[in-house]
Each structure stands twice: as C-alpha cells, then as structure tokens.
C-alpha cells in the first residue's frame, strides 16, 4: 500500500477534512474542538486544513466543543470533534444530547485513562464511560482503520435508517502518536463515497422545536426508536462496507473479527490494539501446537451479540481481555461478552493494560495458560502489565 507516514491523530484529522469538503455542495462542515492529550494533534492538524465551506471553532471547553457540533448538525452541517479522557467526561452531557437529538455527529476519541491521579496513557475507560450515551462505538486496531472508520462513520451516521452519532476510538499514544504507512484517499473518491448530507428535519425557517419537553410515554417511544435505529446499524454497516470497497478499494473490517477461531479450543476476545497483540500470541501458540483463536470486537455499540454467539458456539474456554475496569465489577467487555457463551463454558475475565500498561504477546500467552488450567471461571483477574 503506497501511503503516507501518519499518526492515527493525523489520519483522523485528514479523514474529517475530506468528509467536510465532501459536504461543500450541501450545508458545509463545522467542527468544535478543544485540546487534550493525546487527541490534541488531531484538532491541530484539522485547524491547519483548508476546508471549502468549512469552519473549525476553537472553543473554551469540551462541553462547548460538542455543543458547537450540536448547533451545526442541527443546522444540517457535517460535524466533527475529537477528545480524550477527562475531556470526554466533561463533554458527556452534550455527548448524550447529540445522541438523543439523533444528530449524525462524528467524533474520534484518543483513548486515555481517567484521572486523577493524572495519567495520559491508554485504556478504554473514557469511552466506555459513554457506553450508554446512545452513540455507535467503533474500536480501531491500526491507523488505516482509524482513517477508514471516520469516513465510514459519516456514511453510517447520516443514513436515514440510523441517524445516530458515531464515536471512533483509537488508543492514545499506541495509535494516536505512532506513525504507520496509511493510505489517504483522494477527495474525488471520498466525494463519491460520502454524498451531500440532507438531514431530515434540520432547523431551517419553519417553526419547530428540537428537543422539546417529553412526557413519560413519549420518552418511552423516543428511546424505543433510538434503540431500533441502533439495531439497524449492522445492516447499514454491511452496505457501508460494500460501498467503501467499491469506491475506495478496501473492505473495512466487520463488527467482529475472528482470527483462527474456527478450529480453536480456546478463544481470546479483546478490543482495540490489544487484539493485534493477541493475533501475534495466537500465531506463537499455534506454532507450539496449541489450538488458540482470537476474536476482536470492533463495534461495541450496538453490541454484536449474535456475531459473538456464532463464534462462541462449541467453545468451552473463552478469555476476555479488557483494557478497562468497571470498578466493583470487572472488565466491561467481559461483562457483556460472557452472556453470549454457551452454558457451561468457562468465560474468564482478565483486566490488563490499564493506564497504558504495555501489553505484550507474553502477557497474552500467560492468560491463555491460566485459561487452559482452569476448571471453572473465577472472579475477574487484574493483571499488572508492568510487572
């Protein structure tokens, strides 16, 4: 692949700019941004892009960054923001508002653990805090996937059957600051992939109220509609994959990606960049004659329960690795994935790499060995990658 050397932050910014320009024939592009490590370089590069019929508003807080996106999206523009960690936490109120208003905002999160104590390195605790915010969530394994996911996110978010915001997650520093060769498509190809946004019900000159008062029964209806839209994401995403492949020549990854899983006796389930490490560990285990397989959960919301259940069929040992910790419970992915395993299967949760601990194939091998030695699942195991 002939590409440019890009960090995931820069890949995301270039994708947002391409998507923004692609809406020049419609209502344009408007982004609200505020810096926070490790997502800062994404907004910096975006601020240095020439975007025809585009605006990047440098606001005073993440709360306002998302608010600008809400106003702009309500007006029918294509919108973008990026943040991390405590920035996402501060933004949370408007993150929820964007979703409940059914606005197709796209945001990239450079995952970083929440503070205090202050730590700028990766885990998924920040975006999983927004698990129930009503956004589609995609977790990326490399920089090309970040760029492609941002473009796919717009097509998915803006589809009339969906109309939901999409959060593209990439781990801080592991991807955000690591340069890899990344293919950046031409504007012409992106223009073909992303049609001008014609947002139904956008704010124009006609009197209407967006976000008016709901009685209990209307809230029930609205939530049900939101939930149903989430349910349509899988179908629409398949169409987005096909369109992306047609126009840009690559097929974006499925919501769940299996690796050597078919004949595996044990599976290791994970999200984000740890999944790449798991693939390496699987290859090493196979070389030793161990029938290990891997499953990467790329789409976390809506949760691909059916796809996981299919992959878990007949599997008796499943390890779920979480780079996050729901305090007092365990890993969030473990909590959700274990429900898809067959009765009697051992589904053991492992938490590793919190706050950026460096997770290596040897850690995964140790997890596989622990799983193999178990006669039953126990409480989630908290591993310290630094030791």
């Amino acid at each position: 692949m002939a590409g440019q050397l890009l960090s995931a932050n820069h890949a995301a910014a270039l994708a947002a700019a391409l998507a923004g320009r692609a809406n020049r024939a419609a209502r344009g592009f408007c982004s609200g941004v505020y810096p926070i490590t490790p997502s800062t370089e994404c907004m910096e590069l975006l601020c240095n892009q020439e975007i025809e019929k585009g605006e990047v508003v440098r606001v005073e807080s993440e709360h306002s960054a998302m608010a600008v996106c809400i106003g702009a999206a309500a007006s029918g523009a294509r919108t973008f923001s990026t943040s991390s960690s405590n920035g996402l936490a501060l933004m949370a109120e408007n993150v929820v508002a964007a979703a409940l208003l059914r606005l197709p905002v796209v945001m990239v999160a450079a995952n970083r653990t929440l503070g205090p104590p202050w730590n700028i390195w990766a885990d998924h605790g920040d975006t999983l805090l927004l698990r129930d915010s009503g956004w589609v969530q995609l977790y990326c394994a490399d920089n090309q996937e970040v760029l492609d996911s941002v473009l796919c996110a717009y097509r998915l978010a803006e589809d009339r059957r969906v109309l939901l915001p999409v959060l593209v997650c990439q781990e801080g520093f592991v991807l955000s600051h690591t340069m890899t060769e990344t293919d950046v498509p031409s504007q012409e190809r992106v223009d073909r992939f992303l049609p001008p946004l014609e947002l139904p019900g956008r704010l124009g000159a006609t009197p209407r109220v967006m976000g008016g008062i709901d009685a209990p029964h209307t809230t029930e209806v609205h939530r049900a509609q939101h939930h149903e839209a989430m349910g349509r994401v899988f179908e629409v995403y398949r169409e987005v994959q096909a369109a992306f492949e047609r126009e840009l020549g690559r097929r974006p990854a499925d919501p769940v990606v299996a690796y050597r899983a078919e004949d595996a006796e044990a599976l290791i389930v994970s999200m984000g960049t740890i999944a790449s490490t798991v693939v390496r560990a699987v290859d090493e285990a196979r070389a030793r004659g161990e029938r290990l397989g891997a499953v990467r959960v790329r789409m976390f919301r809506p949760f691909p329960a059916d796809a996981l259940a299919r992959l878990f069929r007949g599997k008796r040992r499943i390890a779920v690795i979480d780079r996050n910790l729901s305090l007092g419970f365990g890993g969030v992915l473990w909590g959700e994935a274990r429900g898809q395993a067959e009765p009697g299967a051992i589904v053991q949760g492992y938490v590793i790499g919190i706050g950026g601990g460096d997770v290596r194939p040897a850690h995964v091998a140790a997890i596989a060995a622990d799983l193999a030695a178990r006669t039953a699942a126990g409480a989630p195991v908290l591993l310290e990658a630094g030791t």
Binding site: R27, G28, C30, G32, K53, G54, E55, V57, R58, V59, E60, S61, H63, S64, A65, M66, A67, V68, C69, I70, G71, A72, A73, A74, S75, G76, A77, T79, E93, N94, A97, L203, G204, A205, T206, P207, R208, V209, M210, G211, G212, I213, D214, A215, T218
Partner: protein, 308 residues
C-alpha cells in the same frame, strides 16, 4: 449598517406572524419572560431567526412534544451550552449565507452562572449571535433558588433568610468583552426596547440584551403588576436603561427620578424582600453609587425619556 444587514433585509424570509409566543404555552400567568418575548417579536419583523434556548422556564414554555407554542425554529440546548450551540448554528448560517439571525434566549442562571463560560467564550470569539438574558433573578424553573443574579436581600427557596451577596453586574461583564452591542431592556418601555432589539438583530458579531423579567412565583408579587414593577425599578434607578457600544461607549437612555416612593413601592409590592428587611435606604445607597459609576462611564447625561 453592515454588509450583513443588507443581506438580512433582502433575504426572502416570509413576514413573521406575530406573536412569537402562541396560545397554549405553559408559562405562569404574569410571566415577565413571556412579555419580554412578545416585545422581542415586535423587533424581529421580517427577519429570519432561529432560537437556542438552554434549560430554563423558556425551554418548558414551548410545551410538550410534539406541540410547540413558539412560532420560530428552536433548539433546546443543555443548560450551560446555549451560546456554544448558537455558535454552531450561526457558523453554518454564515457558511450558507441565508441571513438567518441566531438568537440565544436564556434565563439568568443559564447566563450568570452555569452558562458563563460558554457565554464569555462566544463573546470573546465575537460570534454572530444575539444573546438575550431574561433575568427573573432566580432559578424559576427549579422552583426559585438563588442565582448570582438574585439581588441582596431577596429570599429564595435555598436562601430563605434573604441572599447576602450583591447581584453580578452582567452588562459590565459583557462590556469588558468589548461586545459589539449590549443593552438593557425594560418591558415598561417598549419603544426603547423594540428599537434596541432591531439594532441588536441588525448588528453583526456578538450582541447582548438584558431584560428584567418579573417572576410572580419567585418574587411573590401580583401577576398583573409585572410591568408596573419594572417601571418602578427603572424610575428608582434600580434598573438602569442603558446601551453600550463596542464595550466602551455607554449611553444612558432613560433618566430615573430616583424617587424614594418608587423604590419603596418596588420593594413592598414583592414579598421576597420582607424577611431580610433590607431597607430602602440600603438600596438607595447602592443605587447612588451605581449611578455615579454609570455617569462617569457615559461621559454625558441624556435627558429623561418620557416614554410610557
């Protein structure tokens, strides 16, 4: 007149059907904000507007989904984000050149307190937004608690003995941002108010209007007395009617008579000042000091406007 003003005037917007607030709204009887909104509507005329309303009584006023009592396109925003949501709308309106005037219509809590950061930032960026604060000096929507707009001596549900601290000087705060245009409006002086609304709508960049809006529930006053209460506040000098251009040029639009009778009536017609027993003399001293400052800043004294 700016270039943008010409665009607005020529925009093919339909003549707006008055009133802006239609029957069936859920406001309390005698709501000062409702009266302010109707005065505001008179200033809008043919102009194409979009409203942003942060959480407040104004957000409730539209009524339950799917109905609306507001004859304008509206986004109801989160409490602290009104000016930022308005920024998004205004930027896209500018990109598309349709002449839409974006107006943020917020209460005092959303302006003086939780919304202060986004308000200040939008003013600093000189966004093309008209921000109107209807000030009932209380969190009316949550049942009447103190805000930083509540005057000293007023009882609220969470300061039952009367608030101790003085009210923030919101116009001075906005003037310090050197906003294009800032003014106070009186619902008892509608001609001056409508003129200011038109001027604010036809100025580009950030503008701010402040409206004292009696809240019969929170002020414990007669619903029918709202306009009269504001007239007394203006007469006594408690609520100065001024405008500030570019944060520097302050014009006093209405000369009070500083009548003690007006001040005493203003305080006695509301039960919220009863418990603290703060005297008219104490208010008079603060008023005198405020007016010395205003005159110093205005550099001149404008004869009293006998309107109304």
């Amino acid at each position: 007149m700016s270039e943008l003003t010409a665009t607005v005037a020529s925009a093919p917007a339909p003549a707006r059907a008055a009133p802006l607030l239609r029957p069936g709204n859920s406001n309390c009887p005698g709501c000062g904000m409702s009266m302010a909104l109707q005065i505001f509507a008179r200033g809008i005329e043919h102009r194409r507007v979009q409203l942003v309303v942060p959480a407040s009584c104004a957000a409730v006023m539209a009524g339950p989904f799917p109905t609306t009592s507001l004859a304008a396109p509206v986004v109801l925003s989160t409490f602290g984000a009104g000016a930022a949501v308005a920024t998004g709308l205004a930027r896209v309106a500018r990109l598309n050149g349709d002449g839409t005037r974006v107006v943020c219509w917020a209460g005092d809590g959303g302006t003086y307190d939780i919304g202060m950061a986004s308000l200040s930032a939008a003013a600093e960026r000189d966004e093309d937004v008209l921000y109107v604060c209807y000030d009932n000096e209380i969190y009316g929507n949550t049942g009447g608690q103190r805000s930083s707009a509540t005057p000293a001596g007023a009882s609220t549900t969470n300061t039952p003995a009367g608030k101790l601290e003085e009210k923030k000087d919101i116009l001075a705060i906005l003037a310090a941002h050197r906003v294009r245009y800032a003014a106070s409006l009186s619902i008892a002086h509608p001609q001056d108010a409508v003129r200011k609304v038109r001027r604010a709508l036809d100025t580009s960049g950030f503008r701010f209007l402040h409206v004292l809006a009696p809240c019969p529930t929170g002020w414990k006053s007669e619903p029918a007395l709202g306009i009269e209460l504001v007239r007394l506040a203006v007469r006594s000098g408690l609520y100065p009617i001024v405008e500030i251009v570019e944060g520097r040029k302050l014009v006093i639009n209405h000369e009070p008579d500083f009548s003690t009778e007006a001040l005493e009536l203003y305080l006695s017609l509301q039960r919220r000042f009863q418990r603290s027993g703060l005297s008219a003399e104490r208010f008079a001293a603060a008023i005198a000091q405020n007016w010395r400052d205003l005159r110093a800043r205005s550099g001149r004294i404008v004869p009293a406007d006998r309107e109304g």
